[in-house]
Subunit: 440 residues, 2 copies
């Protein structure tokens, strides 16, 4: 075959970049586990009727067909999941009898959307989600806790600072219904477009779709202007003179989130009344997160509380979750060289090969190092030592071990500085920083 | 929606079983990295023409179509990969200029095949592969090394013993061509069916498809009978009186594999002349592995040397690889309860909640424990302590910490034995075995 070319929208990483991705994913998993989240992996496919419940993204679903199915157009009825929330809600319903509630889970997997690729938007992309789902009722303190878990997880990564913009669906809906707008959810969806179409676009659309009067439009736009790092947003919202019990509930819940975050993770969270999130299923706090200097990527970590996503009629499982766009964060940072690994292979020691017939002896040396957790490989061929050293250099392998020949003791060379000395194979240890490749 | 039911062929794990899977996958990755293999992840999809190069499995490919594509039958030209070898060969060709050869990589990902599900065969399944690919030529010592890496990786897992059956494609082809059979590869494919159709079925099929004479059939069946733990198979093959340069090459290569394995991993490898592997692309050593007591599952780890899979006409990248069927091994063992986790959540300590308004104090205690790597969560509600202890018990969380109230010191309870004593939150450490869930 001829040399293949990359597929647009399906980013793949070279080995050194993949090491960065591995470290990021395992750091995220480690933080999530520190908070007691259990790992769940769901299958890649869901029945189409599940995937299409969410409306908005249905157009981007990849549908599966078996190549040898009878008719050209006979779909399997299955599609690739486009996020991890819908599969998780299905998993909870399917296994409700076997799970303990409240159920804290994390899930790190690829998702697929057939949309047009652009920076930060891919057809295959990794997400890292945490959710807490409870049976019947979900205490509000989880809406306070989850952004702090995410803040902790992201702060441990060597990436630009994050700013999480938080709002509450009850606040928006309550405000719009207190204003007298007949379809408050429609208004939420319009205000969600403010970053794309601007305030005047929103004004026109509000008049058009929900018959908003000029005064109502003015109040909606005034609300969307309000942001604060602390609880002061609540007074500013109240100063707009709208009153509604749902608005009060939303204000109180959002104050809880903002105050806890201001105490535990100063600078992480900002209350922002323009955050709406287009998806219908959110019913409480909603979150969007922007990476400093990379705001153009859009939100890199979004989510919210959903009361009715997982429900089988008899039982309701309300939840709250946040989803980190791992690919959306990493692919641009890797592309710009802002993140790199200290080397491109796990190998810490290359055992040089004095002659072709010494391979079994060299394998035995490698085995002794590996038994103490030191990643080791043996040189591929008994070339001149200079060539074997270059083999290590090209991969960033820090140490070359020369087996002793004719009774001479083995020697170890640090190829970065060139120091070389005799070594005791059974006691020598690399510095912790050299043991395995890390993010530079 | 109504309660969803599982999809046949798409196994999903409950949280405790998922912990086992996580431990197995990370143990495999750790061993592979100890031997210097770098991680690669390829996208889930390949162009159909890539996937169909392999012929045999084309019928099982899942093809993708965008739901909103113009015509019902307008495929995207993409299919889900059915193994990790074909994507890796494509990745090597695509990135050849940016990789260092010989290139050692491991890859642990799901694969998909639209085949009829049965025990050990799924529509979505995880594979863990290692391969070494070189440019132009690949030294034979990698065919010796790779089965030993796999043997080491599998021996570290708490699963039944493995037995790897090894043959060499040159040996089989050389033998058949030395016998005078005109299409030796066709004969290889026939002999590969011996476990399914038996020796008499093979005899009939050899006569039918490659015009084998009764003497040739007899020799083929005699070859397929030969197995040995050591190099003695070579004399038994030679005693059949067939001579061919390719046969000699195959014998010598297989002797190297078997002798090294007998020395380094006694009992792992058996030379077995009936192993053929149906796939056309193998050109040297071929491997199949059976799990003791679970031979009915078929081979749980297969592979071989392939000289021509990754080639763009100008450049050739010969390789050798082995693929562990992670799902094929784990799903049956988990289903039978032969593998289980010590608990179903990562949480080591549950901080009990004395009252609803003490949540922020309890969060602070949890933070202190987490800062020393101890996975901690705070109880969901200020129920009676008996209920909070049962919350921990149901999840297998080993410790409950009761914050001191009214100046009393905090106390820690090991809920397995019920011992309870005062504790210093900033110095206490759990036993290593209790720190995180492990395979029981």
């Amino acid at each position: 075959m001829s040399r293949p070319s990359p597929l647009s929208g399906f980013p793949e990483l070279l080995p050194a970049d993949r090491i960065v991705e591995q470290r990021v994913i395992s750091a995220l998993a480690e933080t999530f586990e520190l908070y007691g989240f259990a790992s769940v992996n769901t299958r890649a496919v869901e029945p189409l009727d599940q995937l299409l419940r969410k409306g908005e993204t249905s157009k981007e679903v990849y549908v599966l067909r078996r190549l040898q199915a009878e008719a050209e157009s006979s779909d399997s009825g299955l599609g690739l999941h486009f996020d991890l929330t819908v599969p998780f809600a299905r998993y909870v319903l399917e296994n409700a009898g076997k799970l303990q509630f409240p159920f804290r889970r994390y899930q790190i997997q690829p998702c697929w959307r057939g949309e047009r690729p652009q920076e930060g938007r891919y057809r295959e992309f990794w997400q890292a989600d945490i959710d807490v789902i409870d049976r019947d009722d979900l205490p509000g303190h989880y809406e306070v806790e989850l952004p702090l878990v995410i803040g902790d997880a992201l702060a441990k990564l060597p990436i630009p600072a994050m700013r999480m913009h938080v709002n509450n669906r009850k606040l928006s809906q309550g405000f719009f219904q207190g204003l007298g707008i007949a379809d408050p959810m429609a208004a939420v969806r319009v205000v969600d477009k403010i970053d794309k179409i601007g305030p005047s676009g929103v004004a026109d659309l509000l008049a058009e779709t929900v018959d908003a009067t000029p005064d109502q439009v003015k109040a909606c736009l005034a609300l969307a202007e309000i942001t604060s790092d602390d609880a002061s947003f609540a007074d500013r919202v109240r100063a707009l003179g709208v009153s509604d019990p749902l608005l009060d509930e939303g204000l109180s819940e959002l104050v809880d989130v903002v105050e806890a975050a201001a105490a535990d993770a100063p600078g992480l969270v900002v209350a922002d009344m323009r955050i709406a999130r287009g998806l219908d299923y959110y019913t409480g706090t909603v979150y969007e997160t922007f990476m400093s200097g990379y705001e153009r990527l859009g939100s890199v970590c979004s989510g919210g509380r959903y009361d009715n996503l997982a429900s089988d009629g008899k039982n309701r499982f309300p939840g709250v979750g946040l989803s980190i766009g791992v690919s959306r964060i990493l692919v641009p940072l890797l592309g710009e060289g802002r993140l790199a690994a200290t080397r491109q292979v796990p190998t810490c020691v290359l055992v040089a090969l004095p002659s072709a017939d010494s391979r079994r002896d060299c394998d035995a040396i490698a085995r002794r190092l590996r038994s103490r957790g030191i990643a080791t490989e043996v040189a591929p061929a008994a070339q001149k030592y200079g060539k074997q050293i270059r083999f290590a250099e090209r991969r960033g392998i820090p140490f070359v071990l020369f087996p002793g020949v004719d009774g001479a003791p083995p020697e170890l060379r640090d190829i970065r500085g060139g120091e070389q000395d005799t070594v005791d194979i059974d006691t020598w240890l690399p510095l912790e920083a050299d043991r395995r490749p890390e993010i530079a």
